[in-house]
Amino acid sequence: MDSQLKDILEALIFISVEPLTLDRIKEVLADTPEEELRRALDELAQEYGRPGRGMRLQSAAGGYLFSTKSECDPWVRRLLQIERKSRLSRAAVETLAVIAYHQPATQAEIQAIRGVDSSYTVHTLLEKKLVKISGRKKAPGSPLLYKTTDRFLTYFGLNDLSELPSVEEVAKMLEEEEQHAEK
């Protein structure tokens, strides 16, 4: 019974988004005496304190939470960095969408559609090699033109640009959703 209690506590702390307080634990495990809970939590903390674990049980902000051991920090940071590289911000997705559908496009055109200055976002997309400069527009000031890259195609699993869903196709799907919602 005691060991099952420890299981449950481990699962609860793991799944909790915020530090899990004893009060909250008492609510969930209302039938278990507080003393028993405390004992099980102590045991759990001890287990996590042993060498050969990558996480530890921290008691912070009045609650319990798991965190990675500081010894693992360099690797954790490396993983987060790698993952960050493969992700995009909302602004980046929007900008990328504009360039994908309107290429080649200038900063001014992107801005006209998005309604906000997009130079920083275009810059990050350039860095991620999802877009590239394809030349200059024959227009006053000869602004730079941006295009999507092969890497862009790979990222989205496309063979070529013609495989992008058309605006009409998206509109149709979204309309269907609205009709369904109306019911």
Partner: protein
């Protein structure tokens, strides 16, 4: 055995259990199983008869799908009539008019079985919980980063267009270049030149403001079906044509 097809309608104090067939394939398979029919040798006349009875009663038909149920009825009737045609010699297996339907039914059955396996796995998985938010870490993380799918990319572009469209008509009232003027100008150009290149036309505008106005005029003209936008080559260029039969350009009630 059609437990899966049972949908429970719950109302206040009591339970009513009715089988609701979500689609025509469900109903057909139910009938075939009920009558213990060999699926490869369906007596079409009898099945059609039964099918039409269920269809007529409507109680067990998912009414959102009525059109599809009717379509299947039409198919059954056409197969029946083909079988009735006098033939000099008996049909081979390949020519059996029931064959395409049988193949579809077999495949549908397989998919239903596969989906019940998926459902079992889902049940198991639903009892296991994964975190949806990464744990706090000192290494920190940029907020709001997402993994994007192609669909999201397309959707965000579409929503962007829509948002701009609505924003615009609110914010540009009382501007120097009126929307109606611009619309008339576009129509005039179209009458002269047959078509406009969407991006090229926007690029020819003097100011960003004018480009924006032109952009939304075009959107509005497309929406009100005065002009039609055609992409001859996907995403390379959008051409705008005047429709032959077209309503009057939309009016926004501002001084021209």
């Amino acid at each position: 055995m059609d437990i899966e097809q049972v949908e429970t309608t719950e109302s206040e104090g009591y339970h009513i259990k009715i089988e609701v067939f979500e689609g025509p394939m469900d109903l057909l398979i139910f009938l075939i199983r009920k009558k213990k029919i060999d699926i490869t040798d369906i007596p079409i006349a009898a099945i059609t008869h039964e099918y039409l009875i269920y269809l007529g009663r409507k109680e067990q038909i998912n009414l959102d799908r009525e059109a599809e149920f009717l379509l299947m009825a039409a198919l059954l009737i056409s197969i029946k009539s083909q079988l009735l045609l006098p033939r000099p010699e008996p049909l081979g297996d390949e020519e059996d008019p029931r064959r395409p339907l049988v193949d579809r039914l077999l495949e549908y059955q397989r998919m239903k079985t596969a989906s019940s396996r998926l459902r079992e796995r889902e049940e198991e998985q639903l009892q296991m919980w994964q975190r949806s938010v990464p744990p706090q870490s000192e290494a920190g993380d940029e907020p709001g980063l997402i993994e994007v799918s192609l669909f999201e990319l397309a959707e965000s572009f579409f929503l962007l267009l829509k948002r701009r469209e609505t924003d615009h008509f609110r914010s540009l009232k009382g501007q120097e270049v009126s929307l109606e003027e611009k619309m008339r100008e576009i129509i005039r150009e179209l009458e002269e030149r047959q078509f406009l290149d969407f991006l090229d036309y926007l690029g020819r505008q003097e100011t960003l403001e004018e480009a924006l106005i032109a952009f939304f005029c075009l959107l509005e003209l497309i929406k009100s079906r005065v002009v039609i936008a055609v992409q001859e080559q996907l995403f390379h260029t959008i051409k705008v044509w005047l429709r032959r039969s077209r309503p009057a350009p939309p009016s926004h009630g501002q001084p021209a």
